[in-house]
Symmetry: C2
Subunit: 417 residues, 2 copies
């Protein structure tokens, strides 16, 4: 979240961006409406020429944005003809006016593509509490729907950025019963990112012919180890929205419509979806505001997976761990602290901690063979893996995060000005 | 926690420090043992010439330090003759050697004052995971016990500092049944400070003749709205220790020994204890690493006090709220976010938010009469009060914290070097 583009691209940015093929049945347009930003696009419209299936996961915030409320209501229908996204204003905590904005935007989108408002989905990202004037961009939607083409995924990823320093894109080709389908996704971060919800904005699409209920089951499952295992700053947005659309166009090429989520023919698709979500989620973590290192925290030997996740999040969200990584300091004492504060079962005297392949602590003490130089070398890598073995059970989880730098403070100490 | 003294004193430091009178029956000595720091004191010894009552509250970390384990065991006896504290090394996550260090230190202290090891209490603060060599300071204890005098409270507060930029001291004079007794306290912060335990190190003493069980009940109750309502960085230390000693010397002046904690004659003492603990806790928050503003978050109208506290902590621990305060930005949208992420009952459309006396949001929207200039003026104060009214019930709590600045990142990105 944020309103000004960062001057420099994160050192953790991909060396090149994925090129996403068109998804048959889905067209994309972007526009520069000047909602907040100047000299860049800030509106994205995705058009489904015929009704497509849709699934979604949203923030668990008790103070959700107006578009989140709007999407939740429409998701019951399971059908989508248009998605409209704006950056620069979150339309969150905007009361009655916020609801008027979503209604007006949806009517304009529905008229533009010839559908009901109930088949429109909306997302907004940016500053909270400022009224969003739909008139700034609703008049553009008819033209956007007309001009939209299938290839503009990179444009789409660009238009939804806020303080992101690079666009997040991913694509997978995967077979369902021998027919290759495409799975595309885009996402945006870059602060106010934490699990316990879907986190940030992300829009996925496939040409597979999957009904909404099947999509929803697969999406909800895939979110847990990916977007729900990413944290930048522990702060949960009011606006987090993840939508997955299936146009079904691959049916014309013989792809079967599968409703049983246990059907083995969905296994590869399910794996590709999980893999792509993790890819996008990690791209978000690596573009966390001010990030200079990705942190990968793996906790194993916990009493359960849930306990492992709680401890991993305690480590990944600890300001003292995050600043130590920023300082490239293998400060495992702070990892001990974060294990201890998680409130989950842990036995100090069984703890083993490693940075990368360098074991620094063993059975509740500094490893006698510990090499500070070797640990320091790990800390200088772009990705810093932290492993904690509790020795209590078989629970295991990995959480992805980034370090806490002065740039984070700078970006967020000057947000609205 | 930290190993180097900050170059500059916090702008939130008191303009002058409390001068603490002697507590009859308690003598103090400090020494420079060179455990980690050079050119300053790093060992504190408090000597009780006759057995005194003692109460304690400790970290809830699952990975407590060796001194915390040691104190917890001795607290069952309820009697103290010596307290030994060192700064520069926490003796945490030090395994068997850590236990040998506490045992050796306790034997030396017991010999120095002529008591059992069970009447010795220990605390250590500083880096985690480094073995602490008791031989560095145990040989000093006999001389310290001999030289100790009653007036050295300021020396005591200085000796236990780590990254603190100023010593924390407080004193109260209060009557029990018409006899005036003294209550003194010192504390140290300044990072790895969060509730869900006693937080940091703090040592209190009184000449009131109160038995250990009475002391413990009053201390445990007074900790909740004070030390357990302070957070600097949400990180819970392995070493947090709060001890309260009662020498009983005031009995000679006619002060009654009161065992019933419901006795009305204890009311003023109880209030003074609570007030002093809050004073010390706020001194700790105001000296949070890199702090430039104190944040006072009050949540009212919650479904319960516990719910109000959880929401207040969510706000006070939010990196986005803390960086906004650092930037003197009245970014109430982030307060909305932090209310929403707390997971506690909240109704977005009933929320009212104020910074100081400036109401910025009302009934789920920006206050139509909101003045950015007036809100900005509040943000420039050393103390920034944030009020949230939920409109659901009568639950209320206040949490004390500080802002998140580049200096925090700088201090903690360079900790061990």
């Amino acid at each position: 979240m944020g309103i000004s583009m960062s001057a420099s691209v994160s050192p953790l940015a991909p060396t090149d961006y994925a090129t996403l093929p068109a998804i048959e049945g889905l067209r994309i347009a972007t526009a520069a409406a000047g909602i907040k930003y100047k000299g860049r696009t800030d509106v994205l419209m995705m058009v489904l020429d015929t009704p497509a299936s849709i699934a979604g996961v949203f923030t668990r915030s008790k103070c959700p944005s107006a578009p989140v409320d709007f999407c939740r209501a429409n998701l019951k229908g399971g059908s989508v003809r248009a998605i409209v996204v704006n950056s620069g204003n979150a339309n969150a905590f905007t009361g009655r006016r916020g609801r008027e904005t979503t209604a007006m935007t949806a009517v304009a989108a529905a008229e533009a593509v010839g559908c009901r408002s109930g088949e429109v989905f909306l997302a907004s990202t940016g500053v909270i509490g400022e009224p969003l004037d739909a008139a700034k961009f609703s008049h553009l939607l008819a033209g956007m729907a007309e001009d939209a083409t299938g290839e503009r995924w990179r444009d789409a990823a660009d238009a939804i950025m806020t303080t992101d320093t690079y666009p997040k894109l991913a694509t997978r080709a995967v077979a369902i019963d021998g027919v290759t389908v495409t799975l595309n996704g885009i996402a945006k971060g870059a602060g106010m990112i934490a699990p316990d919800m879907a986190t940030m904005l992300s829009f996925l699409a496939t040409d597979a012919p999957l009904p909404a209920a099947t999509l929803q089951a697969m999406l909800s499952a895939a979110v847990e180890p990916s977007f729900n295992s990413v944290t930048v700053d522990s702060d949960t947005s009011t606006s987090d929205t993840l939508l997955l659309v299936a146009t079904g166009a691959a049916a014309a090429r013989g792809c079967p419509e599968i409703t049983d989520i246990a059907d083995v023919r969905l296994e590869d698709f399910r794996a590709a979806l999980a893999d792509m979500l993790l890819d996008l989620a990690r791209q978000v973590a690596r573009d966390g505001e001010g990030a200079r290192h990705e942190i990968q925290v793996t906790v194993e030997g916990a009493v359960s997976d849930a306990s492992a996740k709680a401890i991993a999040l305690s480590i990944a969200n600890s300001p003292l761990v995050k600043t130590a990584v920023a300082g490239e300091d293998a400060n495992w004492g702070r990892v001990v602290m974060a294990v201890g504060k998680a409130g989950e079962p842990a036995d100090r005297d069984r703890l083993t901690i490693s940075f990368g392949d360098v074991r620094v602590a063993l059975n509740g003490e500094r490893d006698p063979d510990y090499s500070e130089a070797a640990a320091a070398a790990v800390m200088q890598r772009p990705e810093v893996p932290i492993y904690v073995a509790l020795g209590l059970g078989t629970g295991r989880w990995t959480v992805y995060s980034c370090d806490l730098t002065k740039e984070y403070v700078e970006i967020n100490g000057d947000y609205r000005s």
